[in-house]
């Protein structure tokens, strides 16, 4: 695996930091554990971690210059869980700075490229993790999903990406972007791996007060349960204008496959969908403006060495350390929370959030699942949207509503358009991970043939 990384990562650029010594040490320990028949499923499996996850004694940059030299003294809860399960962590993957972006071009260091076409983006913000899985630079990876940052890059890289229910996976040690939306999720080559990884990272954590107390089901064994009779809602708002024709065709064909498996497709409406983007871009930056306030050059991370006095140090460190998109969102969020604007923006966004959640609650009274495209387009060329934030924001339009409602979603590869992968998204009610995995797995079994029609560039 390390050889594979060394041979191709100069072209893909999935990793910010590689930890070969740590990986070899973990591998040796795993070999020892594997002598025993009860070794965990993940024992010895090489995984990659998005660089938003805190790793003890391993640099954790969050894709930002402001944390360019930051080495945390503690592991994120999920990292400890993976290590306890015997996983081998090969490195930290590239990402949009502080997970703000949909192409990994906003990394403070360098962009990552799509393994299917190196002139295109891998999606984002977990673009490094998705590219690493797609390019066989690891078996599976963890990403984080605030508005689609696991599912969208998984779709654009032709791999599986799951966002769990908010609170299913501990956020302790996940560097916060928007606390009420952030969730850690697996990016894997297939749905079975996704279930295995979900098993390893799910569960209540006393260190995260928003983590759920609910028991963790056996995800892997739930994969094989029958899908016949499952009612799948197709929200008309998601197939409206804005979805690329090629993507639409591939997705509709995939939906036909679901009926072959015995699922029933039902037309539904989620009427507040059109407000999701605006709602997200008030709430997420507002929370981010507070979450990113701590990076001031005083305690850790980058500081401006030429500053005179502590005030100047704090201002210059932030001015230089943060990239343009991060600054844009800090300003947006600060504005939205400001006295005189709070009611019109933040408070109203919270109210719309309730309405969007209600849309889903009502829909799930009549359907078991919702199916949509994951992204309105396939991977776009590097540089195409960097100067047009609104069009960049629109690439998450299918994945934003789920996090606003706190519900889980999964993206599975469902074919190709222009030779590039297309993702099919399923969403389920809170804690509906088992039904998501079951449906995604059933689809994956049926659609296996189509996946082989295109070739990767690496």
């Amino acid at each position: 695996m390390l050889d594979r990384i060394h041979s191709i990562d100069a072209r893909v650029r999935a990793y910010i930091t590689l930890t070969p010594d740590l990986a070899m040490r973990q591998a040796a320990e795993a070999d020892e554990r594997l002598r025993h028949p009860d070794a965990p499923r993940l024992c010895g499996v090489p995984l990659a971690l998005k660089d938003v996850l805190s790793t003890r004694n391993v640099k954790t940059t969050c894709g930002s210059k402001i944390l360019g030299n930051f080495v945390p003294p503690f592991d994120a809860t999920v990292v400890s869980m993976l290590r306890d399960a015997g996983a081998v962590t090969v490195g930290k993957t590239n990402m949009d700075e502080f997970a703000m972006g949909s192409s990994t071009e906003n990394s403070g260091f360098f962009p990552t490229f799509n393994p299917w076409d190196l002139d295109r983006v891998p999606g984002g913000s977990s673009g490094g993790s998705a590219a690493a899985v797609a390019a066989d630079e690891c078996i599976a990876a963890l990403g984080s999903d605030t508005g689609g940052s696991v599912r969208q890059p998984a779709a654009l890289c032709g791999v599986v990406g799951m966002r769990p229910t908010y609170g299913r996976v501990s956020r302790y040690g996940l560097v916060a972007f928007a606390s009420s939306l952030d969730q850690i999720g697996p990016i894997t080559k297939d749905v079975t791996d996704c279930a295995i990884l979900m098993q390893a990272i799910s569960g209540h954590d006393a260190l995260d007060s928003t983590s759920l107390q609910a028991d963790v089901p056996d995800y892997e064994s739930s994969l094989h349960a029958d899908v016949a009779g499952l009612k799948v809602g197709l929200p008309r708002e998601y197939m409206a204008a804005g979805v690329d024709e090629g993507v639409r065709g591939v997705v509709l064909k995939a939906i036909d496959r679901l009926t072959e498996a015995g699922m029933e497709i039902v037309d539904i409406s989620l009427p507040h969908t059109e407000y999701a983007l605006a709602t997200y871009y008030v709430i997420a930056p507002a929370e981010a403006s507070a979450n990113l306030a701590r990076y001031n050059g005083v305690k850790y991370g980058y500081f401006d060495p030429d500053s005179d006095g502590v005030e100047e140090l704090m201002m210059n460190s932030r001015g230089t350390g943060f990239g343009a998109e991060v600054k844009r969102r800090i300003m947006l969020g600060t504005f939205a929370l400001s006295s005189g604007y709070y009611d019109a923006y933040y408070l109203r966004a919270q109210k719309v959030r309730t309405l969007i959640k209600r849309d889903f609650d009502q829909a799930f009274e009549s359907v078991d699942l919702i199916v949509t495209p994951t992204s309105p387009t396939v991977a776009f060329p590097v540089g195409e949207k960097v100067d047009d934030p609104i069009s960049m924001y629109l690439s998450d339009v299918m994945t934003l509503p789920g996090p606003i409602a706190g519900i889980p979603g999964i993206s599975v590869p469902c074919g190709f358009s222009q030779g590039l992968p297309v993702g099919l998204q399923f969403m389920a009610p809170p804690l509906g991970e088992t039904v998501l995995l079951r449906a995604a797995h059933a689809y994956e079994q049926l659609a296996g043939v189509e996946s082989a029609t295109a070739r990767k560039a690496v």
Binding site: P72, A76, M314
Partner: protein, 485 residues
């Protein structure tokens, strides 16, 4: 008071008190909350350092202490509470936001009853809420004359309870009485040391002054940097006079601003005017779900309510028979009260014990800079001394000297008496000393016989000196009178 004295003005005072709680751990992490004696930056963890990716977990003990305080202050405990982020940028604030409570605090709408100059006053409590303390900044200047600032993060994340009063106080004396009563309540609830000098009890005051014949407006001056009850009193007195002067000069109302109390000059100094007022951009803390305060839980907390200082004071006066001034002095110092209770338990005259404590013990402790619990003379030792006096083995004067010796040497009353000798009550022994004094001081005798009755006092003094203070003073007086006939 001053408003009355000035006739034409009304003074409006409200107080915000921050009290550090005596919890085991900090507000949102597992670090110890007892960091006072620790070297700087040693009682810290990623959470109270505000490192990337950390999350807060609510300290249940701190919530219980806050609710207990609210109940003691007659507050309502709403069923729903939440934490919020208060955003401001300062180097002592690790996350650049403070987790506090904005619109749903734990306790609302209470009151505190006080008596000032014999007048009963009910002072409103707006709210009691919980938040986290900041790190401590230490500013200095090095040998080269460069200013520097040091940061001690030990205090960061310590649980801090804020008690906000209604603007119900009309004088500096009322404000001081409110603060002392509040301090006593926190101490008796065991929720805070409420020690102002150590920063465990901090007070900011809002004060405004308005002409009696006009409306009370909205602007006010916030006064900070007061670190004793006395400085709160002085600062408010100063501010009242200053604001009246602004009105008198035709420039009222005084500008809304924050002013700092300057102890040395006895004045307040402008720190921040309205244009620089903070916009804290409060919003609900997304890392902490809203809390539902179960009625049964609040009931359990209420059941732990100890006797409050006001009730205790009442009981001391009405049932134990202690003079009001002494009762107040005992209540104001919980250790002193404990000392009293222990001593009085084995002695029949509680007021006499109180006299000794408020007079001799307090004086000796003050001279030694010690607290009652550190007193070398324990409650039992004091009672032993009182019993020696009761049995006439020592005089009242001797007892006070023996107490001083006990305090200074740590020896028992019995030991000291054994060494110095008991009181001399024997008629003959005293008569001998009296006769000797008369023989040796003919001038005093002559003065006395010439009508200068105070000359007898001189002779008493000679007798007491000759007996090293042990002669029973009453007997000495009797015998001198008799001998000089």
């Amino acid at each position: 008071m001053a408003a009355r004295a000035n006739g034409g003005y009304r003074v409006v005072i409200g107080l915000e008190v921050h009290a550090q709680l005596l919890t085991e751990s900090k507000m949102f992490c597992a670090c110890s909350a007892k960091y006072a004696d620790a070297p700087p930056n040693t009682v810290v963890c990623p959470i109270c350092l505000g490192m990337p990716g950390v999350l807060p977990v609510i300290n249940e003990q701190a919530v219980e202490m806050t609710i207990l305080t609210g109940l003691a202050l007659n507050c309502r405990i709403p069923a729903h509470a939440k934490f919020d982020r208060k955003n401001y940028a300062y180097p002592d604030l690790m996350k650049w936001y403070q987790i506090s409570q904005y619109d749903l605090p734990f306790c609302v709408g209470g009151h505190l009853d006080v008596t000032v100059d014999g007048i009963d006053r009910r002072l409103g409590i707006t709210r009691v809420h919980l938040e986290e303390d900041t790190a401590r900044m230490i500013h200095g200047r090095d040998e080269a004359g460069e200013d520097y600032s040091l940061l001690d993060v030990n205090r960061s994340g310590a649980p801090l309870m804020e008690i906000v009063s209604e603007p119900d106080m009309k004088t500096a004396a009322e404000a001081r009485e409110y603060l002392m009563s509040l301090r006593n309540i926190l101490v008796y609830l065991d929720v805070s040391t409420a020690n102002m000098q150590e920063g465990a009890f901090r007070c900011d005051a809002n004060i405004s002054v308005w002409p009696r014949d006009g409306e009370i407006g909205n602007s006010k001056v916030e006064v900070k940097n007061m670190n004793s009850f006395r400085s709160v009193y002085r600062a408010l007195e100063f501010e009242e006079k200053r604001q009246i002067a602004v009105w008198e000069s035709g420039n009222g109302p005084p500008e809304q601003e924050t002013r700092g109390w300057h102890e040395a000059s006895g004045t307040t100094v402008s720190q921040r005017t309205k244009e620089y007022a903070h916009d804290y951009r409060y919003f609900a803390e997304p890392d902490l779900p809203p809390l539902v305060l179960d009625e049964a839980w609040v009931g359990e907390i209420a059941a732990r309510m100890p006797e409050l200082p006001s009730a205790l004071e009442h009981r001391l006066i009405e049932q134990v028979g202690i003079r009001p001034d002494d009762a107040r002095q005992l209540i104001n110092n919980r250790e002193l009260l404990r000392y009293f209770e222990e001593a009085a338990a084995s002695y029949g005259d509680p007021q006499r014990v109180a006299n000794w404590i408020t007079r001799d013990l307090v004086k000796a402790l003050g001279d030694a800079g010690a607290s009652p619990s550190e007193s070398p003379v324990g409650p039992g030792d004091l009672i032993e001394l009182l019993k020696l006096e009761d049995s006439n083995r020592v005089s009242g004067k001797m007892a006070r000297d023996i107490f001083r010796t006990m305090f200074e040497t740590g020896r028992s009353a019995a030991e000291i008496v054994a060494q110095q000798g008991e009181q001399i009550t024997d008629q003959d022994e005293i008569r001998q000393a009296v006769v000797k004094a008369i023989q040796e001081n003919p001038k005093a005798v002559a003065d006395f016989q010439a009508g200068k009755k105070q000359a007898a006092g001189f002779l008493v003094g000679r007798v007491m000196r000759a007996t090293r203070g042990r002669a029973n003073p009453a007997r000495v007086n009797e015998l001198i009178a008799a001998e000089l006939g």
